[in-house]
Amino acid sequence: MQKKILSRKSLGIPYMIFLALFVMAPLFVLIYYAFTNGQGEITIQNLTGFFSDPNTLGTLCYSFGIAAVTTAVCLLLAYPVAYVLATSHLKEKSVILLLFIMPMWINFSLRITALKELLTWLEGNLAYHPFLNTVIGMTYDFLPFMILPIYTTISKLDGALLEAARDLGAGELQAFLKVTLPLSLPGIISGVSMVFLPAMTNYVVLDMLYNSTYIMGSLIGSYFASYNWHGGSMIALILLGIVCLFTLLTRGDEEETARGGVLL
């Protein structure tokens, strides 16, 4: 008996090793670098430095702006699509849904390159609208991650609830606002966290669309490129803190998020 339990537990060992080597250890290294300086002394200078440097704060705001606008645009585009698809009686529903998520299966850089060509042709020079282009690029990239969880929550919604709302005197709009919308919130939260957080750091899209403004991801990259591991680590840690904060805020709906969360 004892042996059996041991052998079952031992199945987890490879992953434990992986976790220790590639998650825990780097995290400690990160924390160590974040709170030390070049001489190996413990300091919070990196932290105060981040919040007193207008450049880094500007980058944080810019990243936040890009992520917020991208998330909002994704949500505005995705919700109606997900709603219509989930509530329609179309037989070809799954095919249409497939069309929306198909871009995910095409190589990322190929997609963005194609988008770049299209935008260049439309705008003449990409440098005219860096913010707009970045939002377009990110929306294009992240839209499926918003559609899928919302689609899943709405299509799982019990139709009888809507009928109950109508039965109790609600018109179609009222029934949507009071029943469908609040009950699809887990899907929205799931979608938002899957779009907002990557959008804050994904600097590849900016790079490829010739947006030379830094966002958090590129900022960290630049610190490491100039061998300032301590400053870079602190920014990475701050970002991690923001992610944790965000997760905590939506934690109340953890269970529902799990229900609404897909993914492939």
Partner: protein, 479 residues
């Protein structure tokens, strides 16, 4: 006494779905104000569809629904003074009990202080005082059911619709809720329209029962009427236990069925084919030789209040309920009081279907050629060498204008497991035991119902082939 007015009237309601399936056909009904009326029938009989049309979730394909004399057929559900208690409660999971019940009142823009009072009162009515702040998933099934009722009742609807509201509860809880609902109906004075497939529930609670099957109303009446005077074999079989026999009238107030001649109180002309229904509690066991027929007890089951005794008499099987036990193998006589025999006209179940004439002037049904010559069916007709059909006067007959109807009796069709051997295939959608044979309804792949009498037992939903001998078919030709 004051004549009560009709609160709702259904006028020739038909609901056909896009795929051609008719859920309800030509249903007409009047419900009086304050009545407790129950739609009763097996699943798929159209009772829920009817309820949904009254609620406004479905629009009838044909017919009209009148509320207090005005048509509401096209009115959306939110504009009808009707509320529903849903089968699976459909409570809003993101709201607490207070908000759930307040939903309807808020839609009416009622001030909050009145809402508070109304909710307090309705929670007292359903015995859930002080539950306002509780969330839905902390409630048991029975409590959720009460909230669902409170949520509907608080709006003071003119009609309360209840769609199998007790279906998800256990037996004891169901019995309790039945009485409570009945009490609530008395207290509120609202018209209740109730849907159930549970005949006992219907008999216990209703002022009036509408028995439905296959989208049609079979009978409407008080529980006593329905039980004592079933309109047809289906109702007799569905409500309570019944012995159902085919028989024939042999004289004035005399009928022969189940191998014996019985005196009865229903008057039909001599020679009429009849269906006789005898409730098991009305089958009296006597000493052998003293009853109308003799039989041998084949099984005895103790049921608490009584014994259920199965007796075999010739080819017939009779179920009796008695407070006295018997033993398997006992020889007994069987007697039934004349007024306990319910006699109705035998329904004519002759199956009629249309055959097609193919290019070679052969008769075809379900893609199979029937072994019969078209020229034998149309007097004096002949086929010419170039493949046209001429009638007795030598005039050409257009095969597309000829209509061939085939009729065949239920007893002449045989069921088979070898589906492909049958002329048509289908599944058994209904069966009634008639003493010495089973009467089956087979719903074919061509969406037609065939009635087949067979002495062998098949099960509901069995896939079968229908063997129909050509020499038992009667052909009629229309030009």
């Amino acid at each position: 006494m004051e004549q009560k007015t009709n609160i709702i009237e259904l006028k020739h309601i038909t609901k056909t779905y896009k795929d051609g399936f008719s859920a309800v056909s030509d249903l007409s009904l009047e419900v009086k104000k304050g009545e407790f009326i129950t739609f009763l029938g097996p699943s798929g009989c159209g009772k829920t569809t009817t309820l949904r049309m009254i609620a406004g979730f479905d629009v009838p394909t044909e017919g009209d629904i009148l509320l207090n004399g005005t048509s509401i057929t096209e009115l959306p559900p939110n504009e009808r003074p009707i509320n529903t208690v849903f089968q699976r409660y459909a409570l809003f999971p993101h709201m607490n009990i207070y908000e759930n019940i307040a939903f309807g009142l808020r839609q009416k823009k009622m001030p909050e202080n009145i809402i508070v009072k109304k909710i307090k009162k309705v929670l007292e009515l359903v015995d859930l005082e002080g539950f306002e702040k509780r969330s839905i998933d902390t409630l048991s099934g029975g409590q959720q059911q009460r909230v669902a009722i409170a949520r509907a009742v608080v709006n003071e609807p003119q009609i309360l619709l209840l769609d199998e509201p007790l279906g998800a509860l256990d037996l004891k809880m169901r019995k309790e809720m039945q009485l409570e609902l009945k009490e609530m109906h008395r207290e509120l004075g609202i018209t209740f329209i109730y849907v159930t497939h549970d005949q006992e529930e219907a008999l216990t609670m209703s002022d009036k029962i509408v028995v439905m099957a296959e989208g049609k109303m079979q009978q409407i009446g008080t529980p006593e009427d329905i039980y004592n005077e079933p309109a047809n074999a289906f109702v007799a079989d569905f409500i309570g236990d019944s012995n159902i026999f085919n028989g024939i009238m042999t004289g004035k107030l005399k009928a022969r069925f189940c191998g014996g001649e019985f005196a009865c109180v229903d008057d039909f002309e001599e020679g009429t084919h009849i269906t006789a229904v005898v409730r098991p509690e009305d089958v009296l066991l006597t000493e052998p030789g003293q009853g109308k027929i003799r039989g041998i007890v084949t099984s005895v089951i103790f049921k608490g209040m009584h014994y259920e005794i199965t007796i075999e008499s010739g080819k017939n099987e009779i179920i009796a309920q008695s407070v006295n036990s018997a033993a398997a193998g006992d020889r007994v006589g069987i007697y039934v009081e004349p007024d306990n025999i319910h006699i109705m006209l035998a329904e004519d179940h002759t199956n009629i279907f249309a055959a097609e004439i193919n290019r070679n002037y052969e008769l075809e049904y379900n893609g199979k050629v029937l072994d019969v010559q078209l020229t034998d069916l149309i007097k004096g007709s002949r086929l010419t060498e170039d493949g046209t059909l001429l009638d007795g006067n030598g005039l050409e007959l257009d095969r597309n204008k000829l209509r061939i109807k085939i009729s065949i009796k239920p007893t002449d069709i045989e069921l088979t497991d070898e589906q492909e051997e049958g002329l048509v295939q289908g599944y058994i959608s209904n069966l009634i035991y008639k003493g010495d044979h089973y009467s089956y309804v087979i719903h074919t792949d061509l969406e037609q119902d065939f009635v087949v009498n067979d002495e062998y037992l098949w099960n509901m939903e069995d896939q079968v082939g229908l063997l129909m001998p050509v020499d038992k078919m009667v052909f009629t030709v229309k030009k």
